[in-house]
């Protein structure tokens, strides 16, 4: 399994779906581990009741159907499906509304979804906040620089039971990023990557769970964005410059 994860880390992020299928067919007994540990780009369905899109993930899936956070209905319809409790559903509705505005503010578009469910093993609950943004110039990229651009964020928060007015929050965030520019003179330039980080906090619940979770996610996304921008892309740029430092003079081969 460790070797399988090693392979995934080395394959180009754009080929992660092919790599995952290959590993699933070679190691069928590890399928649940592989599916939960390997990041895949997010997919979207349209809620037929309200015409809004929602994001698909393991956390809103039951068999082959997915539950919409807007209508709380499964697509395609499913009998005896799993639903969050009515109390959690109330919080889920609130979370979706607020997160949609957050998404609009930071992503200038994009699709968001939030799913909540009870934890089978302990008190408390689990929340999953998802964002999908297509920043390409044919998508929602306002500045038109990207031939192809995708940001997929998955934030899973385990919220512990309330103890003395506070609760423990454990956030695991994954951001998958892919961008390609295609200039006339500059050729194709493509950067893809994914990073995963964790954050643990004990917070007073006076402000409410949503507020606490929201702030953690905002802080985490900011850190990840900066990381991707400075550290990772900085590192790959550094590598290119090490291979061949930018020339003062471009050498031209003699023409006869």
């Amino acid at each position: 399994m460790e070797a399988a994860m090693g392979l995934i880390r080395r394959m180009h992020p754009k080929k992660s779906q092919t790599a995952l299928s290959a590993l699933l067919s070679l190691l069928p007994h590890h399928s649940s581990d592989l599916l939960s540990q390997v990041d895949q780009p997010l997919q979207v369905l349209c809620d037929v009741d309200c015409g809004k899109e929602f994001i698909l993930c393991e956390y809103n899936r039951d068999a082959d159907s997915y539950r919409s956070p807007w209508s709380n209905k499964y697509h395609p319809p499913l009998e005896d499906a799993l639903y969050p409790s009515s109390e959690l559903r109330k919080l889920e509705i609130e979370a979706n509304e607020v997160f949609a505005i957050y998404c609009d503010q930071y992503y200038e578009g994009g699709i968001s979804s939030v799913y909540l469910w009870e934890d089978d093993y302990k008190e408390g609950f689990i929340a999953c906040f998802l964002i999908k943004k297509d920043g390409s110039k044919t998508g929602q990229g306002r500045r038109g620089y990207l031939q192809e651009g995708a940001w997929d964020a998955i934030h899973v928060i385990e919220v512990g039971p309330e103890e003395e007015g506070a609760a423990h929050y454990c956030l695991t965030s994954t951001v998958m990023l892919s961008l390609t520019t295609n200039g006339e003179s500059s050729g194709t330039f493509s950067l893809s990557g994914s990073i995963r980080r964790q954050m643990n906090m004990d917070l007073a619940i006076a402000d409410g769970h949503l507020c606490n979770m929201g702030r953690m996610i905002e802080e985490m996304e900011g850190k990840l964005r900066n990381s991707l921008d400075q550290v990772y892309f900085g590192k790959t740029k550094e590598m290119v410059c090490t291979l061949r430092p930018p020339a003062e003079v471009v050498m031209r081969l003699p023409n006869s």
Binding site: P13, A22, S25, V98, Y107, L179, L191, E218
Partner: protein
């Protein structure tokens, strides 16, 4: 979250071999041996691995233009499709030698002088050698650690003016820092066709740069360019932070303040937030 059964489909040997080859061929520059190690563990079948390796390594080595040292360390040979004499034999025109290599181990096992028929004619060699000298000078100045070579890929037996021939310039630079979780490679291939009694030269260049950074993540760059100017890479990078990233996620909302989560508490959430942010309805 429901559990799902995955069918226990048994793969044929051929399918397993193709999968193994896929992983090997798609290894980032300088990482094929690491990929091979993990692959053998996952595959758990030495026979299939060996078959896949025999087929995949030569292709990988040629496309990545790897550089192998002569056994006596007197020089190196580049592995490309342009100087391949036989599936394990590669010509180094600068020293007029032929190297025998083991693709899977990625080593040069022996070197012998090249036979006359393996080398270009003196007329062609004149061009090749002069160009080689210029390229060596250029690579020495422009690349901290670049290896280069010039091969004749067409018309190597041309005796004098009046016929067409083609030379290929290959430049390869590699930086491997696995301890720093960072690897990269730069490959330039320039095809120069001498046409029509040397009245015309056609030059095509192809540059490919790959970089892989994998500390706590997996980020890969691949850039291709098919024109002569190499200053464009700087342009791509300087555009990135300001422009392209914003299309994905802004650093802060337009309000230039963090998102007001606290206002969701007492009042009707959406209405209040929209008011504060000035979003009309």
């Amino acid at each position: 979250m429901a559990e799902e059964e995955y069918p226990d489909v048994e793969l044929s040997d051929k399918q397993k071999k193709e999968i193994a080859k896929w992983f090997l061929l798609n290894s980032p520059a300088g990482e094929i041996q690491y990929v091979a190690k993990d692959l053998r563990s996952v595959l758990n079948d030495e026979r299939i691995y060996n078959e896949a390796a025999q087929e995949a390594f030569p292709l990988y080595n040629k496309s990545h233009i790897i550089c192998l040292e002569f056994p006596d360390r007197s020089g190196d040979v580049l592995i490309t499709s342009y100087n391949e004499l036989d599936k394990n034999e590669y010509l180094d025109p600068r020293t007029a030698q032929v190297a025998t290599v083991n693709h899977v181990k990625q080593v040069c096992t022996e070197v012998r002088p090249a036979a006359d028929e393996e080398l270009p004619s003196p007329y062609i060699e004149d061009f090749r050698c002069t160009l080689d000298a210029e390229i060596l000078k250029y690579v020495g100045e422009a690349y901290p650690k670049g290896i280069c070579s010039v091969y004749c890929v067409n018309g190597k037996d041309v005796e004098g003016p009046g016929s067409n021939f083609e030379l290929v310039v290959v430049i390869s630079a590699v930086k491997n820092s696995p301890k720093n979780f960072c690897n990269g490679s730069w490959r330039s291939v320039w095809n120069i066709e001498f046409k029509d009694d040397m009245q015309m030269l056609a030059i095509r260049g192809k540059i490919q740069v790959d970089a892989h950074y994998f500390e706590e993540g997996n980020v890969q760059l691949d850039a291709k360019n098919e024109c002569r100017d190499e200053t464009m890479f700087q342009e791509s990078y300087s555009n990135l932070p300001d422009t392209t990233f914003k299309d994905l996620r802004r650093k802060l909302p337009v309000t230039r303040t963090l998102f007001p989560w606290h206002n969701t508490l007492q009042f009707s959430l959406t209405r209040d937030i929209q008011k504060e942010l000035g979003i009309g309805k």
